[in-house]
């Protein structure tokens, strides 16, 4: 337990060492984090789109995790990164770097969602939707920058290549995967809206 907690702090202080030491634990924690992320994102989605402004409403507790897990752009990003790096990384370190990268994304998104929720919850409760979306965009940009920096450091630690090559792969993979995540998000959102209208 203590080792795991120490690893969680390393993701901020020394992502390279984190990448080296966390490879065996990444998959299990990833499985725990996806529903947690989904719950937070689902609750934000429900509150912003259906004006549910109380945590005590039954729809919140039942539908939010399901909706959030489906709609979570984190799932799309994870899949996108996994697929793209599977194409780029053709050596025997492929599985290690992919798991580490996927885990880094999950941890970072958990922290991101908590921060975004803390920033935009007051705006949602005051029904100031425009400001809420604006600050959501800003927090999105800031935290995704942090994710890119984590990935660059992690990959540089476990792969021996030039910095330019690492940065180029991380940036292009990341932004491409983000496009996949955004597309999945749009598709699932549209499906949900259509099913509710019907």
């Amino acid at each position: 337990m203590r080792d795991t907690l120490e690893l969680f702090t390393k993701i901020i202080t020394d992502p390279g060492e984190f990448a080296e030491k966390s490879k065996d634990k990444s998959l299990y924690i990833l499985l725990l984090l996806i529903p947690f992320n989904g719950f937070i994102l689902g609750s934000l989605y429900i509150m912003s789109h259906f004006y549910v402004t109380t945590f005590l409403h039954p729809i919140f507790w039942i539908i939010a995790p399901l909706v959030g897990t489906l709609l979570s752009s984190q799932l799309g990003v994870f899949l996108g990164v996994y697929l793209l790096l599977a194409t780029i990384c053709k050596d025997d370190k492929k599985s290690k770097s992919l798991r580490v990268l996927a885990f880094n994304f999950s941890i970072a998104y958990t922290l991101y969602l908590g921060l975004a929720a803390a920033v935009i919850f007051p705006f949602l409760f005051s029904h100031n939707w425009a400001s809420a979306i604006y600050f959501y965009d800003i927090s999105h940009v800031i935290l995704n920058i942090w994710i890119a920096a984590l990935c660059a450091q992690a990959i540089q630690k476990i792969r021996e290549e030039t910095e330019i090559r690492t940065l180029f792969k991380v940036f292009t993979s990341y932004f491409s995967a983000y496009g996949v995540g955004a597309l999945l998000y749009l598709i699932f959102s549209a499906m949900l809206v259509v099913s509710i209208i019907r």
């Binding site: 992502p15 390279g16 939707w129 425009a130 979306i133 604006y134 965009d137 800003i138 940009v141 800031i142 920058i145 942090w146 890119a148 920096a149 984590l150 660059a152 450091q153 540089q156 030039t162 910095e163 330019i164 690492t166 940065l167 180029f168 940036f171 292009t172 932004f175």
Partner: protein, 222 residues
């Protein structure tokens, strides 16, 4: 460090260029020359569209965005309402060149101050050299601009949207990579800190850009 061999390295092998910068004495004259050359060529090609076609969308978008950018307004006479007439193209070229110089120098100062407060030893002139030699990629962007002025004949309505996607990609992908690698050669900062430092410029300038352009961001929500 010969100017032309450095210029060749900046486009073909930037790592070698930044290694040379870290080893040799900083040269402010070469740095300023590179900044003027790269930005001047890009602005000239953008203005060529206006000269050849009149109301070219690449130029008009560039002109509108630069004139309404908050930093430009408060670092020029624009905040007093003085704008150069649109027919005085040589003066407008000079105005845009000064704008682009500001857009390189202000982030450079921001980065240097952050490095200074992180208690890392780094030479100010070397940071300036890294930024000014990174601007050489704008010559590639100038070539792309010329290509898109040709694409205008095929797709006159949407060519500027695709062009500005590429324009933003240069400033969000290519230039940060150059700066991150360059700062690594002249300082002892880790890759993680350098990536955070350089990429943090993006939301800062995004927020500044939205000051006069927030309707574009918020339109879907309104």
């Amino acid at each position: 460090m010969a100017f032309f061999s450095s210029f060749k390295n900046s486009l073909i092998d930037p790592t070698k260029l930044f290694v040379d910068i870290s080893k040799e004495e900083a040269s402010p004259i070469r740095s300023i020359a590179m900044l003027l050359l790269s930005n001047g060529v890009l602005i000239f090609v953008i203005m060529l569209g206006q000269i050849l076609f009149a109301s070219d969308l690449i130029y008009t978008t560039f002109d509108y965005q630069t004139n309404s950018f908050i930093i430009e307004i408060y670092t020029s006479m624009k905040f007093l309402g003085y704008y150069i007439p649109s027919n005085l193209l040589p003066l407008i070229f000079l105005e845009k060149l000064i704008f682009m110089m500001k857009m390189w120098i202000i982030p450079m100062l921001f980065v240097y101050i952050l490095i200074y407060f992180s208690k890392e030893e780094v030479d100010f002139m070397k940071v300036f050299e890294v930024f000014s030699w990174t601007s050489s990629v704008l010559l590639i962007l100038a070539g792309i601009t010329a290509v898109f002025l040709g694409i205008r004949f095929i797709q006159p309505l949407y060519y500027h949207y695709i062009y500005y996607l590429i324009f933003v990609a240069f400033f969000v992908l290519v230039i940060p990579i150059y700066l991150i690698v360059g700062l690594g050669k002249i300082s002892g900062l880790s890759l993680y800190k350098r990536t955070l430092l350089i990429l943090s410029l993006i939301p800062v300038f995004f927020i500044l850009w939205t000051y006069n352009h927030s309707f574009i961001i918020l339109a879907p929500a309104l």
